[in-house]
């Protein structure tokens, strides 16, 4: 359940003012946002994630307006309710796979449920990497760890920024089906921004910027 209204954003020291169409997703609805680079896709995603403050307009997630929260409340709210997936999936390099997941849960104040973690890692087929360091993981394993980190805390909204851009067709399919699958399991909204046309057939809702 995410709802945006009259969002505009202007970067400091830049002329362009981004104006975004309203987004309105009900429970379990997914959305694909397509657009060329430079059109403000990532900006929109960061506005929805609460990482940027809009010049005007509001973002409402699960009936809570991000603009009504102070910065500390915003940190906690977005940490708890949003899962972010990046193009190159990063995890904290000084921690191993398991510790990254524990840190993820620690910072959003969720209890560590070991069987749930094992279960998720099994679904993503990285259960045997639990105690591996981040730099020991393959590209594909890292990608799947990124997905794990974005859903382990059972968020209401999963935001993915170009999750398939650097992947071949086969892996593109695999990653997208994992993301859709996890969104479904968590009863979360999945919003994917991309310029990757291969993803198009997987979504009913498509927004072209």
């Amino acid at each position: 359940m995410i709802h945006t209204e009259n969002l505009t954003f202007k970067y400091h020291q830049k002329e362009t003012v981004f104006q975004f169409p309203d987004i309105d997703l009900n429970q379990s609805e997914n959305l694909l946002i397509l657009g060329k680079s430079g059109i403000g896709k990532t900006t929109l995603l960061h506005l929805m994630a609460g990482l940027l403050k809009p010049n005007s307009g509001t973002v409402t997630i699960a009936d809570v307006s991000l603009q009504s929260l102070n910065s500390k409340q915003l940190d906690k709210f977005t940490g708890k309710n949003i899962g972010l997936v990046f193009q190159k999936n990063y995890a904290v390099r000084s921690l191993n796979v398991m510790e990254n997941i524990q840190a993820r849960l620690f910072f959003c104040k969720k209890k560590v449920d070991n069987s749930a973690i094992t279960n998720l890692l099994q679904q993503l087929n990285i259960e045997n990497c639990k105690s591996k360091k981040i730099n020991e993981l393959s590209e594909g394993q890292l990608q799947r760890l990124g997905i794990a980190l974005s859903v382990i805390h059972e968020p209401k909204l999963i935001l993915a920024d170009e999750p398939t851009a650097s992947l071949d067709d086969k892996n593109c399919q695999a990653v997208m089906s994992l993301l859709l699958d996890q969104a479904k399991k968590n009863i979360a909204n999945l919003v994917v921004i991309t310029h990757d046309q291969r993803v198009k057939p997987l979504f009913q809702n498509i927004l072209e910027l």
Binding site: T42, H46, A49, L51, L52, K72, D75, K76, T78, G79, K80, I82, L84, F86, Q87, K88, Y90, A91, V92, R93, S94, L95, E99, Q102, A103, R104, L105, F106, F107, C108, K109, V112, D161
Partner: protein
């Protein structure tokens, strides 16, 4: 998972940086602590060794040498003075105790001092075992001497000439141990105490023995306290020096001047001379302290650089933690804990370095100078040095967290490619 664990993991992630920071900081802390402690300990040792000796009278020469030789027993004496004259001075009403001492022999490097019974009162030394010296060739040992040489009451030994242990110049008359003093932490601990007659007899006797003895004496004339005597009359007797304790400070004002101006002897004030000595050695202590402070500053810069690098290089990691729900304050805590952990480990290591360093220095001093210095860990020094380190680290942390405060999570995350 908690903040501490993340900080520790971060430290282990760059073990070389961490190690470098800890070691350089620990060395400066160790140096600072070590030099301070050594300085205080040596000063204490000197002040303590002086006992109740307010004034020392001896042959003319360097007053510092006189004090080092007759009070500290670490230098050679300036020469001899007449026992007769010394006795005259002792009658001054301002003087509480005047103790004549005469020395020139040693046993295994420990000096043998001929003196009167009052000698022990200057150092408040009581007998631990046995009795005081009753007749010539009897000795009472200082505590350290008895311990180190493993001598017991009833044991006998042969003393040798001069202040260095040697087999060449051994006296033929054996000395018998009749008593052992309790430990005092003063100079008497490492002295072998006998009466004046023992010293006089040993050397008179020798003089009758061989012709080559004369050459030997010439050779040592400057260094040694005693001269041979053919007569036993008190008038011709010589002693090395006279140790004096005053009844009132008035004595300090009149007697030294009287002696320096009107006699062929000199009077030296031990406290003043020792203070003067520390003014020379103080420069060395200061230089080493400054070097230690410079290393301290450099190591804190190292810590700052490694923390700052961590914040810069791992900007993405930190931004990621922010999206997990971490507040800015939690990120600052991660960095601060890293700095504090380095500081804490370095302080512990620094204390260990200083203590083990001092242990070896003290052992060397013990072997070279027969001085036992108590290895007292000064908590004030540790506290003061830790405070310095703490302030430095807080400054390093404060500077390195500035990028976190102005961190733009969105920008860092959108530049991930």
């Amino acid at each position: 998972m908690n903040i501490w664990k993340i900080s520790i993991k971060n430290l282990f992630h760059k073990p070389l940086y961490t190690l470098l920071s800890i070691i350089s900081l620990a060395i400066s802390i160790g140096l600072l602590l070590g030099i301070r402690q050594l300085d205080t300990a040596v000063k204490q040792q000197f002040d303590n060794s002086l006992g109740n000796v307010d004034l020392v009278i001896g042959a003319k020469g360097s007053p510092l040498q006189l004090v080092l030789a007759s009070v500290m027993h670490i230098d050679n004496p300036t020469g001899n003075i007449s026992y007769q004259e010394a006795k005259k001075i002792s009658k001054n009403p301002l003087i509480k105790t005047a103790v004549p001492i005469s020395y020139g022999d040693n046993y295994k490097g420990y000096r043998i001092v001929g003196t009167t019974e009052q000698f022990a009162t200057l150092y408040e030394a009581a007998l631990d075992k046995g009795q005081l010296v009753q007749k010539p060739m009897e000795v009472v040992l200082g505590y350290t001497v008895a311990q180190q040489l493993n001598l017991k009451i009833g044991d006998t030994f042969l003393s040798s000439h001069g202040f260095v242990d040697n087999d060449m110049d051994v006296h033929s008359d054996p000395l018998t141990v009749v008593g052992i003093y309790k430990p005092t932490q003063k100079v008497i601990d490492r002295l072998i105490v006998t009466n004046l007659e023992s010293i006089w007899e040993a050397h008179d006797h020798e003089n009758h023995e061989g012709l080559n003895e004369h050459d030997d004496h010439e050779e040592h004339e400057d260094h040694e306290s005693h001269k041979s005597h053919n007569e036993h009359a008190d008038e011709d007797k010589e002693i090395t020096s006279l140790l004096i304790a005053f009844k009132s400070p008035m004595g300090l004002l009149t007697i030294p001047r009287q002696i320096n101006d009107k006699t062929s002897m000199q009077a030296a004030l031990p406290k003043y001379e020792v203070e003067r000595l520390f003014q020379f050695t103080g420069i060395g202590v200061k230089v080493i302290s400054w070097i230690a402070y410079i290393i301290l500053i450099i190591s804190c810069i190292t810590i700052f650089i490694s923390l700052f690098k961590m914040v810069k290089e791992r900007a993405f990691d930190l931004a990621l933690l922010r999206t997990y729900g971490a507040s800015n304050f939690q990120l600052i805590k991660i960095v601060a804990y890293e700095g504090l952990l380095i500081g804490l480990l370095a302080t512990v290591l620094g204390v260990i370095i200083s203590q083990s360093g001092l242990f070896f220095v003290y052992r060397m001093i013990k072997e070279e100078y027969k001085q036992t210095i108590l290895q007292n860990l000064s908590y004030i020094d540790i506290l003061q040095t830790s405070l310095w380190v703490f302030v430095m680290i807080v400054v390093a942390i404060t500077l390195s967290i500035l990028p976190i405060i102005s961190m733009n999570v969105s920008k860092i995350l959108s530049n991930e490619k």
